[in-house]
């Protein structure tokens, strides 16, 4: 009985010691973040979640909706950064993002899907659980990559740099795993979302001229790719890019 009591006390002591050490660490982690930064963190997490949702989404139409949702999260988070840090030019970026990525590009994509009559299922090259696991590895990699960089940055939002890099990587992965043309283009556009978020979180946004230039580039790129889609389909009767490989054999 006495031995039991002693053993219990020892276990209790060890548990208490470990607990107080861990608790101190936990407290050091979670204090002193202003509310707007917490909202940005939440939006960053949503952005990452949407990147994963796009990675695993089979249907083209839902993919466009997810892309629009990602643009909305990006726009709101840019506006919150602008509000929190009093960087008025970021309001313009937020408005531009809202206009371009939530309204104009999804509308163009929807119109294109309707015109091309491609409401089919998108099939991935590797199955979805595997894609998710590769995605998790990419996220770990980008968090590790971003950690030393974000230590150098002085912005409140520096912690979200890892998420920005992760969403760029996930868009890359999406472009790699998809065979159809439209999902690849959506992956490309989502990659631009991630880069934009990285710029906001690391340096409070790029200069206005650069931002306008990129916005215009994306828009023009989208239009040109739209023309390409019609050309590809006219040539091969399909938007599956595996037909493009035949060009090499023809030489």
């Amino acid at each position: 009985m006495a031995a039991y009591a002693t053993m219990q006390r020892i276990v209790y002591d060890i548990a208490e010691a470990a607990h107080s050490a861990l608790r101190a660490a936990g407290r050091a982690l979670m204090t002193g973040i202003p509310l707007y930064a917490q909202i940005i963190n939440l939006l960053a997490a949503i952005l990452l979640l949407l990147a994963f949702a796009m990675l695993t989404q089979r249907r083209v139409l839902s993919l466009v909706d997810l892309f629009a949702a990602q643009g909305l999260a990006l726009s709101i988070s840019t506006a919150v950064v602008a509000f929190g840090t009093h960087q008025t030019h970021l309001y313009w970026s937020a408005g531009l993002t809202l206009l371009l990525k939530v309204a104009l590009l999804p509308w163009l994509l929807h119109r294109m899907i309707r015109r091309l009559d491609v409401k089919w299922d998108v099939e991935g090259l590797i199955n979805i659980p595997t894609t998710m696991l590769i995605g998790i590895v990419l996220v770990v990699f980008s968090f590790n990559l971003a950690y030393p960089i974000s230590q150098l940055a002085s912005t409140v939002t520096r912690a979200t740099l890892g998420i920005a890099i992760a969403s760029v990587m996930l868009s890359f992965l999406m472009m790699i795993t998809r065979r159809k043309a439209i999902p690849q283009v959506i992956g490309f556009l989502a990659m631009e979302n991630g880069l934009f978020f990285a710029a906001t979180s690391a340096t409070y946004g790029m200069p206005m001229v650069v931002e306008l230039g990129i916005a215009l580039d994306v828009l023009v790129g989208m239009l040109i790719l739209g023309v390409f889609f019609f050309q590809i389909r006219e040539q091969f009767d399909s938007l599956d890019l595996k037909h493009m490989e035949k060009l090499k054999e023809g030489e």
Partner: protein, 315 residues
């Protein structure tokens, strides 16, 4: 380690044992209402258990001792879990014995034995159910561990009472990681409790059943214990979810009035949780078994993301 602690431990244990069948009855009733059926009595699970205890048990020919002992092991494991999970108070002397990881181990122990018993008889359905159960289990367990790790990272301890204490008395803040972990936990508990997107608790249709296929050979007191243990499992999972994500109202210290006050709060939270479970079950369709990896893979993904996001944004 006080008399009050032991008293609240005992009260919590008794409430878990007594209320678990009621929770099952409540979920069934809500589901019947939502599906425009006439609802069975709230007390039906109690009557079933009493009826089964009164009957004579039949054991299949060639059953090994594992088959006979499994109901007691499963029921015991669920009782242990009910004693560890802080549903009423965090001052639990028994909870010092096991932390969140051991809790997952307890669930795994019950799962292994019930699968062994199912294969023991050698019927086709038994081994089919056992295989499916292990198939779901090996996907659900890592996700559950990751959810618990996320909560431990936030609170800095794997001991459940400490986690609940920290989460209940933290300063106000938005925790995206906890939101992710909450969704992941919901998905895992649906799978673990043989609920609709993965398994259908109300069917004995050969091709779809998982949990029911494993316990087909049980009768009388054995079946009563298994049913009661399944109810306790649902109760435990609900209490873990409530303790991690809605820890308000759980008594912190060893004072008695707070523990007694926590009882109606717990019942209210369980009633809402049970209704939401019935709602989820009504709104979703049962998946093919081979879609389960996708479902649970998503849960795992969310749980891992919760942990990573917590690591990144917490600093």
């Amino acid at each position: 380690m006080s008399a009050a602690g032991f008293a609240s431990q005992f009260l919590q244990f008794a409430i878990a044992l007594a209320l678990a069948p009621l929770l099952v009855g409540w979920v069934n009733q809500c589901r019947a209402w939502l599906q425009n059926k006439s609802a069975p009595s709230l007390m039906l699970p109690y009557w079933t258990i009493r009826k089964l205890f009164a009957k004579d048990a039949v054991v299949a020919e060639g059953a090994s001792p594992i088959f006979r002992i499994t109901p007691y092991i499963v029921f015991g494991a669920m009782c242990c879990a009910a004693a560890i999970v802080p549903s009423l108070a965090t001052d639990l002397p028994f909870a010092r014995a096991a932390d969140a990881i051991a809790l997952v181990g307890l669930f795994a122990l019950a799962r292994v034995f019930i699968a062994l018993a199912a294969m023991d008889i050698g019927t086709a359905f038994g081994s089919l159910g056992a295989r499916r159960e292990m198939f779901v289990g090996f996907l659900a367990e890592p996700a559950l561990l990751m959810v618990l790790f996320t909560a431990s990272l936030i609170s800095g301890s794997t001991s459940l009472p400490t986690i609940v204490d920290t989460l209940a008395h933290r300063e106000f803040g938005i925790y995206p990681s906890l939101a992710f972990a909450g969704v992941a936990f919901t998905m895992v508990s649906l799978a673990e409790n043989a609920r609709i997107p993965v398994d259908n608790p109300a069917t004995h249709l050969e091709l779809t059943m998982i949990h029911e296929a494993m316990i087909l050979e049980y009768s009388a007191r054995h079946l009563a214990l298994i049913e009661w243990a399944a109810a306790l499992k649902l109760f435990n999972y609900s209490c873990i979810g409530l303790a991690l994500f809605f820890p308000f109202g759980i008594a912190a210290g060893g004072d008695w009035s707070a523990v007694l006050g926590a009882v109606p709060v717990l019942i209210g939270k369980l009633a809402i949780g049970g209704f939401l479970l019935a709602l989820i079950e009504t709104l979703s369709a049962k998946m093919r078994i081979f879609r389960a990896p996708e479902f649970l893979g998503t849960a795992f993904l969310l749980a891992v993301l919760a942990m990573l996001v917590n690591q990144l944004l917490g600093s």
